[in-house]
Symmetry: C2
DNA sequence: TCGTTGGTATACTGCCCTGTATCCCGGCAC
DNA sequence: GTGCCGGGATACAGGGCAGTATACCAACGA
């Protein structure tokens, strides 16, 4: 018997991680549970002992997907700009195919799918992260600034997938800087 | 016999339009060709006389998907800002589920899929549209400005799907305005 | 008038999917 | 030692999928 995955991970999480990678790389509907089980070196029967259905596995996979690590040190402004740097590092590390949340959400047309609530929670957290830093930095309208940063971040995530190109990411980082400069009333001479 | 669809449309295009709506709304892999045929009020045999395979139909559906109509009148600056307004109008009109290009691309993990080339062409056109206007408006670095506008536009398309909320769209429009003001060296007093 | 073209209707092939059933086995708690 | 839990192996049920085959029929043009 084996109750642990490789490197002593609990089996349940090992399965979720394998599923996350496959679902992300090849698509949720293309990858069957047979393939998840086989790549995780377990049997389908075992998979179904840990997850009641494929839908539940999808939700777990989303939770187990690699995430961008947002900076926690430095001034709020530095942290916000650092988030865009972290994005660039993240995209360089993986063979990126697009924002996992968007990819997953795109395949789960039904808004009541259990994985959708996971996605919404994660996105809400990201926006709160921006809002808190925007407020701490002393923005006039932290809600607006957070919304703007969030949109730019989403755009960078989306654009980064289409071409394997860093230009959109750099453009996003510059836009974020401009937004900050403007909202914090500094650096009125913007370019050059 | 019937060689035309409803309202005298050529049948081929009628099929593509029906497919576009179904694929977009419910997902490419969830919707089978049987269902497309049935909703288009034709038989599967007829569908396969017009399109050699489902993949070909997907590409055609993408071309037939409704598009945002970008403005062509006014100064370049007005046109660019108008594009964001057009986006808002577009999203209000449909029960929006996310950018069609992203949705389709998400389900077509294989980059060599015929529909992917369609997507890339459409996105390249959009960026050129921004670049031409940015140049005509006299931006210092039209390539950069176009890239930034494109990222913000993508972000608006992505965010607009997640909540049924206009705030991200307004935030995007304001960001676009800021980008223009900055790149065109006008309105150095940015907010208030 | 008659063949071709492009529809309709229906059935079928072969494959893959999710989820379950059955049986076996090995380790661990008691 | 002896249940029993959790995993291995395999097979299966039931359905959906893309794509094809067969047969028929209506319009249109040469």
């Amino acid at each position: 018997m084996r109750t642990r995955g490789p490197r002593g991970q609990p089996l349940r999480e090992h399965i979720a991680r394998v599923a996350a990678e496959l679902f992300y790389r090849d698509g949720i509907h293309v990858v069957g549970v047979d393939r998840v089980a086989s790549e995780a070196s377990i049997t389908k029967r075992t998979l179904y002992r840990h997850y009641r259905s494929k839908d539940e596995l999808i939700a777990a996979a989303l939770r187990a997907a690699p995430r961008i690590v947002f900076p926690v040190e430095g001034t709020p402004r530095e942290q916000i700009l650092g988030a865009f740097g972290a994005l660039e590092a993240f995209l360089a590390g993986t063979q990126y195919r697009g924002c996992p949340y968007i990819i997953f959400a795109a395949e789960l047309a039904d808004r009541r799918h259990p994985a959708r609530t996971v996605i919404e929670a994660l996105l809400a957290r990201r926006r709160e992260w921006f809002r808190d830093r925007a407020a701490a930095a002393g923005a006039n309208d932290p809600e607006l600034l957070a919304e703007q940063l969030d949109v730019v971040f989403d755009g960078a995530l989306a654009s980064g997938s289409k071409r394997g190109d860093v230009r959109p990411l750099q453009a996003a980082a510059l836009t974020a800087r401009l937004l900050l400069d403007s909202a914090l009333d500094r650096g009125r001479v913007l370019s050059k």
